[in-house]
Structure formats: structure tokens, C-alpha cells
Symmetry: C2
Subunit: 232 residues, 2 copies
């Protein structure tokens, strides 16, 4: 009964994928993604958990150059608007970064959440209403990791105007736009996340982010070994 | 330069983990989670992508029985309130389901999002402000999959009052509570998701959830093979 165990070798493959996942912007190649591979990646997304088994996600796969070009125009407008919020030094850096690969990547995928997918009450959504959108983000993360496992890079473009996307892709207003992703083969998966390599920010020490039994609660003695593990 | 490729065997291990992940409520055993394993699982969460490299997450690990008991009281109150929303037949079913393993699982983990983790403007968050919370959900999904790869079950308890959790765990108001998770070894990982096995809802056909180039856009001829793949 039930599923077979995951072996140690399989576990290590999962960690290799999780630690090797990157937000890809500038390493896309034009090589097309095989259709069967795209099917596997979408199926991985569809197998995320969801509150009340809602499966509230939809996926719009975009390969049309005209559609991509309109999305990129939205990106450029939003980037310009965001640049104004930084001080001069950071603004220059911000504008020098390559932050999306909308046109270079062979496929884009817009992921949406249908908050009304189920008629009537949704089991488990009464207290934390946002859990349907959270479920959709879980699907995005599954997609991202499945793509990495296929050696396909994914870049999440958040510098986009939702209203623009509703119009460009004809998405009905009641569907929440959760993510706009660029997918493609890459010339390389960088060892270090790009914003870290560029000196924008560093990875935070994990041991500062873990508490015990309450906010700011210190590690009990029996977990001393954990403190060492978190420092690695 | 860059990372080594993921092999086909490693890819298959990732899919085995993604497709084998379950929301665990009733199969927890009392066996403690090894400390080094917990460290690996938290590290996997910490390696999620995040908007502007914010890493906005914090983790409160709970093993104290008194704390867990107070959390469970919040669950019971919320479950009662939610039951009123269902019609009589579904209410009876709803109340008969085991929807959490707060006390039986050796560890609970509350995951929060600090929307002010970075002083000043966050790169990439100007247009879609919620992406910091979405990043935290990505960390939750990494945690969930890493746990599955370690043969550790995770249950996401969404039937909880956020204000109760703020009080029980002393979480400052400005931190957003994203998830409350139960972790432990399991007697089995069920083959079929529990709400599906119980006849509450079925898995939706994936081919109905995938569009091309616009909402409701049909699959182009070159993707005919994909339609077949999505039906599997």
C-alpha cells in the first residue's frame, strides 16, 4: 500500500535541482522546447497541492512574436516607472540589469488563478482566503523545478502591469494573474543567483531566519547540531 | 562554467517527488525528524527564488505540546465556523474528514513573510506588490518537496485564524503569516490525494487548463502531440 520510498540518490537529485534552480534572464537560446517535455513540465505544475483540491490554475502558453512584443512593451513602461523609485546610484544599476527574456525565450507562460473554479464553499479556504492564489504559486514552483530538471531555464517577470496582460491575452477580469514566465534552453545555469553576483544583495544567513516555538525563540540545546547545519 | 546538467535519472527522481507529494493529515507517526534532515529541508526552502532577492521568509519550528494544543484550538473553532457554510450533506462529510495533524506530527513550522525585509525599494516588486508573499509560497513548496524527498510528510493547515497565530507565536503584526505546516514521518504516502479518494472532487483534465497565445486560444497544429501528452 502507498508509494515506494524515495531513495537517497533520488533525494540528492531533488536537492541538486532545488539548489540549481535560477531566475534566468540573459542566458536563453532559441532552441525550441520539445513538445513532450513541455507536456511533462505543465503536468508537474498541475500536480501541485491546492486548497480544497481546487486546482485553480490555468496556463496560457505564448509563442507568438507579436503577443510577446506587446508584453515586452508593458515591461519597458513598468521598468521606467519603477526606476524613479530608486536613488541615483541604484537607479543606474537597476536600468543596467537584464531583467527579462520575453523575446529571446522560445515560450512564455502566463499562470492565472480562478478564484471561482469551484461552485459553492471551498474546503479549507474559509479562514485564509488567499490560499487559492497560494496554491497557484505552488504550481508555479513545481513548473520551475520541473523545468530545471529538464535543463530548461525559467525567468519570472514581475515587472509587468496586470491590466496590460489582461488586455493583451484577453484574460477575463475575475482570473488573477499570478505569474508571467519565460522558458527556454540556456547557455548556462549560473552558479550564483544573478542579483547576488551583481552585488545587489547577499544571501541571508539561514540561522537568523529560524525560530523555535515562538517569534525570536532560541534554538533548544537538543537542536545544537541544527544550528551548525543551518550555517553551511 | 555554470552548473552541470541534470541527468535523465535525476529528472525522473524530481518527477517522482513532485507526483508523489501529498497533503498529509492522518498518516503521521511519532518518530522524530533527524536534526540534520530538518536542516536540509529548511535550507531547501531558503533557496527558493525571491523578488529582488528579498528572501522575505522566516520559519518558526514548533515542537512544544502546549503551543501546538493552542494552535489546534484555533483550528477547531475555525472548522466549526466553516462547517456552517456547507449544505447539510457536505457539512457532514466536511466534519468527518481529518484535516490536520497538528498534535500527531512531531514538528509544526509556521512560515511568515517580512514585507519590509529590505530597506527602500525592492527590485521587481513595483508592479506586482504581492510577489514578496508569492516568493514565500515558493519557499513553502521547496520545503514540501524536499520533505517528500526525505520521505517526510507535510500537511498545510489553512483552517486557522491568523490573529490567533500572531498571538500564540508572538509574531509581530507586520509579518504576514503564509503557511502553517505539520511535518513528520508517515505510515504511508497515499497513491491518490485524500480529497479525491474521498470522492470530494476529481482531478481536472489538464488539457482544459492550457491555452495558446490568448485566453481560450486553441492548440496549434504543431502542438498536436502536446494535447495527447496532457491527456495522460
Amino acid at each position: 500500500m502507498g508509494q515506494p520510498d524515495i531513495t537517497a540518490a533520488e533525494r540528492d537529485a531533488v536537492y541538486k535541482t532545488i539548489f540549481g534552480r535560477r531566475d534566468i534572464r540573459k542566458h536563453f537560446t532559441a532552441e525550441p522546447i520539445p513538445v513532450a517535455m513541455l507536456g511533462r513540465i505543465l503536468k508537474a505544475a498541475h500536480h501541485a497541492g491546492s486548497v480544497g483540491y481546487m486546482q485553480p490554475w490555468s496556463f496560457i502558453v505564448v509563442d507568438d512574436v507579436g503577443v510577446k512584443a506587446r508584453v515586452r512593451e508593458s515591461f519597458l513602461r513598468e521598468r521606467e516607472a519603477a526606476a524613479e523609485k530608486f536613488d541615483a546610484e541604484r537607479r543606474e544599476k537597476y536600468l543596467s540589469y537584464k531583467l527579462e527574456g520575453i523575446l529571446e525565450s522560445p515560450l512564455n507562460i502566463c499562470v492565472t488563478c480562478d478564484r471561482n473554479r469551484i461552485p459553492g464553499e471551498v474546503i479549507g479556504r474559509n479562514s485564509m482566503r488567499e490560499t487559492d492564489v497560494y496554491s497557484t504559486v505552488c504550481a508555479v514552483q513545481n513548473l520551475w523545478l520541473a523545468a530545471r530538471a529538464e535543463n530548461i531555464g525559467v525567468g519570472w517577470v514581475s515587472i509587468l502591469n496586470r491590466q496590460d496582460l489582461h488586455e493583451i491575452l484577453n484574460i477575463p477580469p475575475k482570473h488573477v494573474i499570478v505569474a508571467y514566465l519565460c522558458l527556454g534552453y540556456v547557455s548556462e545555469f549560473p552558479e550564483i543567483p544573478e542579483l547576488e553576483a551583481a552585488g545587489w544583495r547577499s544571501r541571508l544567513p539561514l540561522e537568523d531566519l529560524v525560530y523555535f516555538n515562538q517569534w525570536n525563540g532560541k534554538l533548544p540545546e537538543i537542536y545544537r547540531e541544527l544550528a551548525a547545519a543551518l550555517k553551511d
